[in-house]
C-alpha cells in the first residue's frame, strides 16, 4: 500500500511538472505578442518603431489639437513637452479625455501617424498615468498637481 501511494505521488508530481513546463512555454510564447511597450513621443521620433509593432504612446493631449473628421475619425497630438506625434482614432473617446489632460493610446506607428485602436484614460479627474508622469519628468515639464 505504502509503495503504491508513493508511486502514485511520484507520477502525479511528474504530471504536474510536465504541465507546468508546458504552461511556462505557453506563457513565454504568449508574452511575446501580448506585451505592449510604452514609448513617449520623443522616444518614437528618435528611434522609429517597426510599423507592425503594437505599443502604447502617452503624454498630454496638446491644446487646440483635437480635430474630428468625416466618418467618425478623430485626430489629436500627444506631447511630452519636447516632441509630439499625431494620433488617429476611430471611435468614442473616454469620458475624461480632454485637451491638456494625460492620455495613453494603444496602436501602431506608420511612420508619420500613430493609428490608435484603443484610448485609455482612467476614470478619475486627478489621475495621470504613471508612464506619462515619467515621460513628462524626463522632459522636465512635469509639475506636481495641486
Amino acid at each position: 500500500m505504502y509503495t503504491a501511494r508513493k508511486r502514485r505521488r511520484i507520477q502525479l508530481l511528474l504530471a504536474s511538472a510536465a504541465l507546468l513546463a508546458a504552461s511556462t512555454v505557453l506563457v513565454g510564447y504568449a508574452l511575446r505578442d501580448g506585451v505592449s511597450y510604452f514609448r513617449s513621443p520623443t522616444e518614437i521620433l528618435s528611434e522609429l518603431p517597426p510599423a507592425t509593432e503594437t505599443f502604447r504612446v502617452g503624454g498630454l493631449v496638446a491644446e487646440r489639437s483635437v480635430h474630428r473628421q468625416e466618418g467618425g475619425g478623430i485626430e489629436f497630438q500627444v506631447t511630452d513637452g519636447a516632441s509630439s506625434v499625431v494620433v488617429r482614432y476611430m471611435g468614442i473617446l473616454p469620458d475624461l479625455f480632454s485637451e491638456g489632460q494625460g492620455v495613453v493610446a494603444l496602436g501602431t506607428f506608420d511612420g508619420s501617424k500613430f493609428l490608435a485602436s484603443e484610448i485609455l484614460a482612467k476614470h478619475d479627474e486627478n489621475y495621470m498615468p504613471r508612464e506619462v508622469v515619467e515621460a513628462l519628468k524626463e522632459q522636465g515639464v512635469y509639475r506636481q498637481q495641486e
Binding site: G34, S36, E125
Partner: protein, 679 residues
C-alpha cells in the same frame, strides 16, 4: 480637491450634533474589538496547549463579542454617511448631501477605509457564525479555528486603526462633501464589492480551518465536511461578485467589453480559480480521505490569493483603469499582512504537513485522478493569470522597461487550460471513485460527445471559415450541457424505468449531485455566451445627425435627437434612438452622458436592448464641430448567457450547499464525542 473650496464657510454644527459623540463611540468600539481579537487569539491557543477546555471554549463568546463590537462601529459609520456628518474626514471626501440614500449607504464601502471595515465586519460575522453553528466541531478544532480567525481580523483592525482610520475627524468640516465617484453610483457596483468581499473573506475561514488542522495535526472527514460549506459559500459569492463586476463594466464603462483582463479583474479571478480547485479537492478528503495535504495547501493558497487581490486593488502598484480607492503607502501594509499570513501558513505547512497521511491510494482511472487533473489545470491557469498580472511590475523592477500585458497574452495562455478543463469535466464527473473504468464513462458520454462534435461542424459549415472560436466554443458548451443532462438522466435511469419512477428518482437524487450537474452546465452556458458574442459581434461607429437611419446587421437604428435631463445630482445629455427589425419597432433606447457637478466628472450610460438571444448596445459619444454626434452601436448575440451562466453556476453550488450530506453532523454531543474519541 473639493474639500478646499468650501473652507471659508460657516460650520453648520447645529444639525450634526447628534452624531458627534457617536463617532467616538464607534471608534472606541473598533478599538475594543481589536483588544477582544487579541484575547481570542491567545486564550484559546493557551487552552489547547495546556488542555484547559474552559479557556479553549472562551473563543465562542469572544468571537460573538468581537462581531457585535465591529457591527456597532460599522453602524455608526453608516449613520455618519446617512446624516452627512462632514466632520468625519471620510464622509466629507466621499459623500454629498444631494446623493440618493442608497448611494449614501453604498458610499460607506465605496472607499478604502470603509471597504476595509466592511471586510472586517464580514470576517467577524463568519467567526461568530462558526462559534454559534459549529457546536459539533471538536472544542479544540473550533478554538483553534476561531483563534486563527482572530489573528486575521486583529491584524486588519490594527491596520485600520493605525494606518487608515475611518473615524478620523476634520477640524474644519466643509459645507458639503466631495461626492462618491459617479461611476460607483450605480446599482451594479453598489453590490459588487460586498459580494466579492463575502467571497474573499469566506476563504479566510478555509484558511483558518487549514491552519487549525496543521496546529492540531489532524485532517479527517469531519474537518472536510466542516470546511466545504464555507468554501462553497465563498465560491458562490465570488462567482456572483465577479459576474456583477463584469456586468457593471459591460454597461457602465460603455466600451462594450465584458472582461478586460485588467489587474483588478484578475485580482478576483485568481482566488476564484483557487477556490474552485479547493471545492473539488475537499470532496476527495471528505469521500476518500486522500489529498489531505494538498487540500490544506490549497486553502492557504486560496486565502493568500485573495489577500494578493486586495493588495493589487488597494495599492495601485499596477496601473489599472478601474481601481478607485488606491494608495501606494497602504500597499506596503497589505503586502506585510500578505507576507505574514501566506508565509506563516506555508512555513507551518512545510513543518507539519508530514503528519497528514492519506488513507489509501487510487488507480489512474478514477474520480480522484479526474479531480487532481482539474486541480492542476486550475492552478496552472491561476499561475498564467498571476504571471500576466505581475509581469509589468517584474519588468519594471528587474529590466527597467515600462510595458503592459494585454488581452492577447491572456487569451493565448489562459484559454488552452480552460478548454482542457472543459473537455475533462463531463468525463471526470461520471468516473467511479478509487478504481474507475473509461469504458462505461465513454459509453455514457458518447451521445453528448457526438452532439458536441456535430454542433461544432454545423457551426463551422454555417458561418464559413471565419475562425475556429465559434465552432470550438459552441462544441464545448454543447458538450458540457449535454454531458450534465446525460449524467443526471443516467442517475435517474431515464428511459430504462417508467418515467414516473424516474421522476421520483430525480426527487430523491442527492442535491449535491444535481448541484454538480447544474454548476457544470452553467460553465457551458457561459462559454456559449462568450464564444457567440466574441465571434459574431457586429460593431458600428459613425457620426449621426437627428433623423439619420442606418442598418447594423439585421437591425435598423434611427437617431431621433438629444435632450437635456436633470438627475438628483447630475445633468444628463440623453440621446434617443429607435431600434427596429423587419419594419417593426423593438424598443426606444436612451443612452446618456451624465455630468456630476460636485465630483466634476462625466460618465457614459449605455442603453441596451436585451433579449435572451441578443443585445443591441448603444452608446452616445461627443458632439462634433458640425453639430452631429458620434454613436457606437453593437450587436452582440447571446450576450446575456455569459452572466446567466455564472448565475446557474452559483445556483448549482447552492444546491450542493443545501444537501444534507455536505452539512456537518448536527447532533452536538454525540458526533463531537465520536470525533474526539476516534483520535
Amino acid at each position: 480637491m473639493a474639500l478646499q473650496f468650501e473652507k471659508g464657510a460657516q460650520q453648520p454644527s447645529a444639525i450634526q450634533r447628534p452624531t458627534c459623540a457617536m463617532i467616538e463611540y464607534g471608534h472606541f468600539s473598533l478599538s475594543l474589538a481589536f483588544v477582544i481579537a487579541l484575547l481570542q487569539l491567545s486564550i484559546p491557543l493557551a487552552g489547547i496547549r495546556c488542555g484547559w477546555s474552559t479557556w479553549t471554549r472562551s473563543a465562542d463568546v469572544l468571537s460573538i463579542l468581537q462581531f457585535v463590537a465591529v457591527a456597532f462601529a460599522y453602524v455608526v459609520l453608516t449613520i455618519a454617511f446617512v446624516q452627512s456628518d462632514f466632520s468625519v474626514a471620510l464622509v466629507a471626501q466621499h459623500s454629498h448631501t444631494a446623493k440618493p440614500l442608497i448611494y449614501k449607504l453604498s458610499g460607506v464601502w465605496g472607499n478604502h477605509e470603509g471597504s476595509m471595515l466592511l471586510w472586517i465586519l464580514v470576517l467577524t460575522l463568519f467567526g461568530a457564525a462558526i462559534a454559534t453553528t459549529g457546536r459539533s466541531l471538536s472544542i479544540e478544532m473550533r478554538g483553534a479555528v476561531l483563534a486563527v480567525q482572530a489573528a486575521v481580523s486583529g491584524t486588519f483592525m490594527a491596520y485600520l486603526l493605525w494606518a487608515s482610520n475611518p473615524f478620523w475627524r476634520l477640524s474644519a468640516p466643509p459645507l458639503d462633501g466631495g461626492d462618491l465617484n459617479p461611476l460607483l453610483q450605480d446599482p451594479g457596483l453598489a453590490f459588487h464589492p460586498p459580494l466579492l468581499y463575502l467571497g474573499y473573506v469566506g476563504l479566510s475561514v478555509a484558511y483558518s480551518f487549514a491552519i487549525a488542522a496543521l496546529l492540531i495535526g489532524r485532517v479527517d472527514v469531519a474537518w472536510a465536511k466542516w470546511m466545504r460549506p464555507w468554501v462553497l459559500v465563498s465560491w458562490i459569492f465570488l462567482t456572483l461578485g465577479i459576474a456583477a463586476g463584469s456586468w457593471w463594466a459591460y454597461y457602465e464603462l460603455g466600451w462594450g467589453g465584458w472582461w478586460f483582463w485588467d489587474p483588478v479583474e484578475n485580482a478576483s479571478l485568481i482566488p476564484w480559480l483557487a477556490a474552485t480547485a479547493l471545492i473539488h479537492s475537499a470532496i476527495v478528503v471528505e469521500k476518500r480521505e486522500s489529498l489531505k495535504g494538498w487540500t490544506v495547501l490549497l486553502a492557504i493558497l486560496a486565502f493568500s490569493f485573495s489577500l494578493l487581490g486586495t493588495f493589487l486593488v488597494r495599492s495601485g502598484v499596477i496601473t489599472s483603469v478601474h481601481s478607485f480607492a488606491s494608495d501606494p503607502t497602504r500597499g506596503v501594509f497589505i503586502l506585510g499582512i500578505l507576507t505574514l499570513f501566506s508565509g506563516g501558513g506555508l512555513i507551518l505547512f512545510a513543518l507539519r504537513s508530514g503528519m497528514l497521511a492519506p488513507r489509501d491510494a487510487f488507480a489512474w482511472v478514477s474520480r480522484e485522478t479526474a479531480i487532481v487533473s482539474n486541480n492542476i489545470l486550475l492552478i496552472v491557469a491561476a499561475f498564467v493569470v498571476i504571471v500576466g498580472t505581475f509581469w509589468p511590475l517584474i519588468a519594471e523592477l528587474f529590466m527597467g522597461t515600462s510595458l503592459s500585458v494585454g488581452p492577447p497574452y491572456f487569451n493565448k495562455a489562459f484559454t488552452p487550460f480552460f478548454v482542457a478543463i472543459a473537455v475533462v469535466m463531463p468525463f471526470g464527473a461520471v468516473l467511479a471513485w478509487k478504481r474507475g473504468s473509461l469504458k462505461p464513462a465513454f459509453r455514457l458520454m458518447r451521445v453528448p460527445l457526438a452532439f458536441a462534435l456535430m454542433l461544432g461542424v454545423l457551426v463551422w459549415s454555417l458561418q464559413g471559415a471565419s475562425g475556429v472560436l465559434a465552432p470550438i466554443g459552441l462544441a464545448l458548451s454543447g458538450w458540457l450541457m449535454a454531458g450534465s443532462i446525460f449524467e443526471v438522466a443516467h442517475k435517474i435511469r431515464l428511459g430504462r424505468i417508467p418515467i414516473g419512477q424516474s421522476l421520483s428518482w430525480l426527487a430523491r437524487l442527492p442535491r449535491r449531485d444535481l448541484g454538480k450537474a447544474t454548476a457544470h452546465a452553467g460553465v457551458g452556458l457561459s462559454i456559449l455566451g462568450i464564444a457567440a458574442m466574441t465571434a459574431w459581434q457586429i460593431e458600428d461607429i459613425r457620426a449621426v445627425n437627428p433623423g439619420d437611419s442606418y442598418k447594423v446587421g439585421k437591425f435598423t437604428v434611427e437617431f431621433r435627437g438629444v435632450d437635456q435631463v436633470m438627475g438628483p445630482n447630475f445633468v444628463s445629455t440623453r440621446g434617443e434612438f429607435s431600434l427596429s427589425a423587419d419594419g417593426q419597432e423593438l424598443e426606444r433606447l436612451y443612452p446618456e452622458k451624465r455630468f456630476y457637478p460636485a465630483a466634476r466628472s462625466q460618465t457614459t450610460e449605455a442603453a441596451i436592448h436585451e433579449t435572451l438571444s441578443r443585445h443591441v448596445y448603444v452608446v452616445l459619444g461627443d458632439k462634433r464641430e458640425d453639430g452631429s454626434w458620434s454613436a457606437r452601436v453593437y450587436f452582440k448575440p447571446l450576450a446575456s448567457w455569459i452572466w446567466l451562466g455564472a448565475v446557474v453556476m452559483a445556483l448549482g453550488a447552492m444546491l450542493g450547499l443545501a444537501d444534507g450530506r455536505s452539512r456537518a453532523p448536527l447532533i452536538p454531543g454525540r458526533s463531537a464525542g465520536r470525533i474526539a474519541r476516534a483520535d
